[in-house]
Symmetry: C3
Subunit: 136 residues, 3 copies
């Protein structure tokens, strides 16, 4: 069992793949078989597992969620941290804060088309902290 810290710099809103960073941690931890759990320590960025092939799929996910949860909605009263902050919290509750992926033969058991992503919901570049736990 072990707990690891991972920091990802995001350049602003969007999906940023971290599969290779997590695979590296699995190899370094020398985990043959077990469970990898990832948690993001923020409420305005989140996690998702999604299509890693066609960049248009990623673009459509971003555009669809932005339209569902736009900036400037008159329903928001929590506006002191900027127009992108309250939509960021809503986008986070609709996606994932923690994900668990079994490990076999020292590899994440992701499907062929699955990638792990940090979804940054704020406009600005941010350092996002993740915690990764391995158990066997």
């Amino acid at each position: 069992m072990s707990v690891h810290q991972l920091t990802i710099q995001t350049p602003g809103k969007g999906l940023f793949q971290i599969t290779s960073e997590i695979e590296t941690l699995v190899r370094e931890a020398d985990l043959q078989e077990g469970l990898c759990t990832i948690m993001i320590r923020h409420t305005s960025a989140s996690l998702t597992i999604q299509e890693n092939a066609d960049p248009r799929a990623k673009r459509d996910l971003e555009a669809w969620l932005e339209r569902l949860v736009p900036e400037g909605d008159a329903i928001y009263t929590h506006t002191a941290e900027g127009p992108d902050d309250m939509p960021a919290h809503i986008k986070a509750i609709l996606t994932a804060t923690s994900l668990s992926i079994p490990v076999e033969s020292s590899r994440l058991t992701l499907g062929t088309w699955q990638g792990i992503y940090v979804w940054e919901h704020r406009r600005q570049s941010s350092l996002r902290k993740l915690v990764v736990h391995f158990c066997d």
Copy 2:
């Protein structure tokens, strides 16, 4: 490893923070390092990790989800348990039924602004049962 039961009384619709209850279980279990998994045993209440500071953020999350999934939608056919029941199930699938949080130095590794919440989607006061699992 251990499994614990936790019961939370909710007063009706809304987000109710349970971070301190979970932290107490971590201390009582004497877990130094490991993984804490929380599952809610209901389909009309759910879990989320969200902003624990400005109460307006909580209020906006509640108002936004209520508007997305209102009572009285003509699409509902499962109406025998009351007008708030089918929207409750939909809100539950959009948020989380289980959450996993790594533990380090006997503390949940939540970020500064993160709190763990039970999200009650029914109007009435309810006793909500959670199961908490610790592994190292």
Copy 3:
């Protein structure tokens, strides 16, 4: 600790219960107390825990999500894999790719009304691969 593979054939769009398949794996693994984690290895099908009693609840969940994320939305640019593919990815990010359920007395600690479902978001019949991890 053990990792298991499970394949589910889905007949097309809809919620398909897999609770008994997972319970069977728990019994076969002879897990008395621990944690069961399920991950689906796809980006156009997902997992959810929901009401297992009234079939109208299931039908309403399907109809509501289909209306929120319809085929043929002009926002989609990832259309090469068919009109049901991009909505499938969006539905997957709004629901779950992994779920964790504590086990006690060799049984999943699901609530009375909870069932585990694979949510198929594509029109065609598909073989969906899941990975199930047990730890104690």
